[in-house]
Subunit: 347 residues, 2 copies
Amino acid sequence: MAPVPHGHVTLVQVARWAGVSAQTVSNAVNNPERVAPATRERILAAVEELGYEPNLSARALRNRSSSLIAFKTRPARTDKASLLMDEFLYALNAAAAEAGYHLILCHAEDGSANEIKAYRDLLKKTSVDAFVLAETHRNDDRVSALRSWGVPFASFGRSWDGDEATSWVDVDGRAGTRAATEHVAAQGHRRIGHIGWPAESEIGSERREGWLEGCRGRELETDLQAAVADTLEAGRQAAHRMLDSSRPATALVCASDTLALGVLRALHERGLRPGADVAVTGFDDSPTAALVSPGLTTLHQPIDVVGRQLIQSIDNLLAGDPRDPQHVLLEPELIVRGSSLPGPPRQ
Amino acid sequence: MAPVPHGHVTLVQVARWAGVSAQTVSNAVNNPERVAPATRERILAAVEELGYEPNLSARALRNRSSSLIAFKTRPARTDKASLLMDEFLYALNAAAAEAGYHLILCHAEDGSANEIKAYRDLLKKTSVDAFVLAETHRNDDRVSALRSWGVPFASFGRSWDGDEATSWVDVDGRAGTRAATEHVAAQGHRRIGHIGWPAESEIGSERREGWLEGCRGRELETDLQAAVADTLEAGRQAAHRMLDSSRPATALVCASDTLALGVLRALHERGLRPGADVAVTGFDDSPTAALVSPGLTTLHQPIDVVGRQLIQSIDNLLAGDPRDPQHVLLEPELIVRGSSLPGPPRQ
């Protein structure tokens, strides 16, 4: 058991004392019906023992605040298969609701200048407690803008500049792509190509690195690679090129489901069977990946955990939690479907 | 030109006088840069002529309001192909932003009791101007709840009870399914099956009616029909049954893309080619429909128009517009892709 803290007692100290998460203490105070009676007892004992005063705590501060967390959604329909940001929006909304917040949506055309303007307009108009950023990149103007305004935020996507001050949650694309590469290598493939994004994409570079690591670990050649736009058509054309090569690919590891679906289209055009003739993997476990026939092997991002972690980080920030910013890198899960498995022999 | 109105002049009267929409007048007042100079001149002339006082108008009321419109999003990831409600959320958010509103999201588990509770909690906590409902059904408790609280709302989905008091926008599923049925009949198909939802679904019944009308118009039999849950697996099994029939279907018109993708899986399992061997159509133009090979013929809902119309309805309601509630039924567009077209002959 931790020593009795001195000075102003925080919710986090109560949590440590009771051996539960800060969220559970928060629930015990705000939504007691959500907490098991025994746990509630233990938390109440800790509250008494430590002299915790909820009125001086984050809860009181929060009651003077809006409980609104702002998030910018994508501007319009895209033809991307991924839709990962849609899933993220639902996960974030569910996590926010659970912690007593509401999401307020922000609308902006592409480009950080537009996004920053939308943030500023929102702040002028409505009281917002915090922002969640997504799709971070190097020299991210949004970070400096929010920081200069003194607005709390956390991001889905790491600080690519190595900025330690921002709380972020991210998914390890390098580890995921390495796992996909090792999976197809384990099926016996030796000519494994990679279809990814141009070098300016930090996420794309991470995924490419994972493929390189997977190939090098098995001493496979890495000459079959393409850096293209994230469209079905670009994936289709890159696949045709790698299959027209004098020593063609027998497996294609892609940086996205969109690209992988383009590869499936190319195979369809060539009369080749995904899995049986050419193994294909994507990234993001889009809804389409489960719906195509055969299903698309891909990497699933633990998006519910991402949402909960970000809300927890924001909750800590708003509670004035003295804890350091959180940096959480999660592993994606390889979902194996028919597109990377040898099928029944051709009739 | 309309007669000069007497008494309190509304924004709508200014709009009629100037021969423009209420939205354009609103823009001229709030975002003049969005309105062409000549139109602005005409509106200003109307404002002067009628003695319109923006300070007494909806704009002033709105400035005392939150400009927040609440919308409940789906609770979690589903394996549905449709994702129509995701597209709707973006369309609604874009339309809201354009009219100077922000969306605030509401989270509730399935079931109208949960949804109503979430609405009430939100209203207690935050000042919300209006709600947008979606996925309306008969005896919709949400409508009576919002009405009893005196909260303005409009719905994506008609009043199935024939309630004339609610403003709604909907898409004509009957006309859409009839168009799909006529399209496959025009390709020469005579055994056209329908895979739809159980009778308690109002939307499903409408779509089934469209198929019936399409068949009857061409004097085709309507014995091949299935009413199943909206899952890939249910679509797959229903397709197998209709293809195992002594007089099998050569075309399957489905109530959703999810069901149609189940049909594609069944065809894949039977070694049949979509389009060339069996024509398949879906409904909703999900992202997956464009991404599978061959592409899935489907009905596209004009979701951007739905979003804009709903925001316009809410804007009218909040402006105290004396206009009757709006009831807008839009036609979906048939998107023809490979799944319903004869392909190249089998090698």
